[in-house]
């Protein structure tokens, strides 16, 4: 549940919420890190839940010594009031037996806070694409019916590709099997999307096909894609990647220094 870290109550009504799904390559989480870091968003509260594995660390967005020693928890909410943007960052895996409960907690918080729309950043295993999906852009979107009416034109203009429904048993000619939505490696993405459709929430999912590895380029691709729609950064004629600020916590992603005695 949401616990504010401010002394005055936080108002989310009318805000856009951007949140990641813990998914393959952690691309959604990396993209959210870029958003919080670049827009210098301030933390307004914690999503305190028993569904995430506990972890703690110092400020991952520290800009210097003064703000380095600020404790951060596995799920926190940041806002940028001018852009009417709220961001939920999730830093730990969801406990396997509690995924359904976590989705329920998220959905009730989204409903209670009155967000005008929610965008879930996610990813899916690249190796499970079918022949069609292997070609063209690896980016896909999904949108719930209640958000479709507001955003259909925007998606058409951007020529975004909707996530395809896949037959349940590819290759087997079965007239009864309906093509269904499948997001392998997406964590709670599919569940959250179907729950949001059922609850009539305005939710969009932006996802990227990728594999585990160095997912920083994937994070940039996803966040630039999001920016094309939401225009979080001013339209500057710069190289797309240079306008995002990499947080200090992105150091040593592949381990610490190597002992010279090893060689």
């Amino acid at each position: 549940m949401f616990i504010s870290s401010q002394n005055s109550p936080t108002a989310f009504k009318g805000f856009t919420l951007v949140m990641p799904a813990v998914a393959v390559g952690n691309v959604g989480q990396l993209a959210v890190d870029l958003i919080v870091s670049t827009l210098n968003m301030s933390r307004v509260g914690y999503f305190h839940t028993d569904c995430l594995i506990p972890m703690a660390g110092n400020n991952p967005y520290a800009s210097g010594k003064e703000d380095a020693e600020e404790l951060h928890t596995p799920a926190e909410v940041y806002t940028e009031a001018e852009l009417k943007l709220a961001v939920l960052q999730i830093r730990a895996p969801i406990i396997q037996t509690r995924t359904k409960r976590f989705r329920q907690q998220l959905v009730s918080w989204i409903k209670a806070s009155g967000f005008s729309r929610t965008v879930v950043l996610s990813s899916s295993h690249a190796y499970q694409r079918d022949d069609q999906q292997l070609q063209g852009t690896p980016l896909r979107y999904l949108v719930t019916p209640s958000l479709l009416t507001a955003s259909a034109d925007a998606f058409k203009e951007l020529s975004w590709k909707e996530m395809e429904r896949i037959p349940a048993f590819p290759g087997v000619k079965d007239a009864d099997a309906e093509p269904r939505l499948c997001i392998p490696g997406g964590g709670i993405t599919k569940g959250l999307y179907t729950d949001s459709c059922a609850e009539n929430l305005p939710v969009a999912v932006l996802l990227l096909f990728c594999s585990e590895g160095d997912n920083i380029p994937d994070a940039f691709a996803l966040v630039n894609h999001l920016n094309d729609w939401l225009h979080l950064l001013d339209g500057q004629c710069q190289e797309p990647n240079s306008k995002w600020k990499i947080p200090t916590s992105w150091s040593l992603l592949f381990g610490g220094g190597i002992p010279p005695a090893l060689f």
């Binding site: 914690y46 506990p54 020693e69 610490g256």
Partner: protein, 279 residues
């Protein structure tokens, strides 16, 4: 995952797979799941006096809660603080999980976290958590314990140890500098920790993290002292590296700043001999 050298390694993905089986759960599955959850629940057993106090809706009188997680941290408190025999055992927290040894009553003692209260100053509470608490039990353990403690005027100190292999730094760390201490504290903690703060991108997990999260969210002053050691088992050098913390603990309670070697030896069971192939 694809590496820089072009080979493909199969790596465990941290993404949780979708549970398709949610739809097929029948009554029996649900019952098994419920029973398993009940078995894994955390139980607190207090002394009769404290049980009465809590039943009446009061909280324990506590201004300083010291938690030791792991063998070395627990050995440190046993040798330097609890050895003064000024402490009463007032409670236990039990948490069964797949790593708890089943069977005799002896092992149920080992799988409990014991709470001690100081006789001279009952507002100081110590807990030795040497049993493994599973990921899904950490939050519950923390909530149940802190439900018994006051939320104001409380300072929490957590001592914990882990392997230096988990410590990430750009310059390779010579093993001679391990064991060393690093600290993390909640925003409400206004004192000066006794050692350097844990640098990015390092994080802590487990019970120390669960306790620190709780304190951060509920604005309780808390500090975690994590010792990074190059020895995985109980080790006297690692135990001694917690000594700077004594300066902060020693205000209201009697500490023994140089315990006898007998005391230390009893605590450090030499499990190394059993693992030596040649003796």
């Amino acid at each position: 995952m694809a590496t820089f050298f072009g080979e493909v390694l199969s790596v465990y993905s941290r993404a949780v797979e979708e549970d398709e089986d949610e739809l097929d759960e029948n009554e029996e599955d649900e019952q098994i799941r419920r029973e398993l959850e009940e078995k894994r629940a955390v139980h607190l057993h207090w002394s009769p006096e404290i049980t009465e106090l809590l039943k009446a809706g009061n909280k324990l009188q506590c201004s300083s809660f010291i938690l030791a997680v792991g063998n070395n941290a627990a050995s440190f408190l046993s040798a330097y603080v609890l050895a003064s025999a000024n402490w009463d055992a007032v409670g236990r927290a039990l948490a069964w999980n797949e790593r708890s040894r089943s069977g005799t009553g002896q092992s149920s003692e080992e799988s409990a976290c014991v709470f001690y209260r100081n006789k001279d100053d009952p507002s100081v509470l110590i807990c030795q958590a040497i049993c493994h608490i599973a990921e899904d039990q950490l939050f519950q353990w923390t909530e149940k314990v802190f439900d018994c403690l006051p939320s104001r005027e409380l300072t929490v100190t957590v001592l914990s140890d882990c392997t230096v292999a988990d410590y990430k730094t750009a310059d390779y760390l010579c093993s001679s500098s391990a064991p060393f201490l690093r600290s993390l504290h909640s925003s409400a903690f206004s004192h000066q920790p006794v050692c350097q703060s844990l640098e990015q991108p390092n994080i802590i997990t487990g019970l120390p993290a669960a306790v620190l999260n709780h304190c951060q969210v509920h604005r309780i002053a808390a500090v975690v002292y994590q010792c990074y050691s190059d020895v995985t088992g109980p080790d006297s050098v690692t135990v001694e590296s917690f000594k700077p913390v004594l300066t902060k603990l020693g205000r209201s309670i009697q500490v023994d700043s140089s315990p006898s070697t007998d005391v230390l030896r009893k605590l450090i069971r030499s499990t190394e001999i059993q693992s030596n192939l040649y003796i």
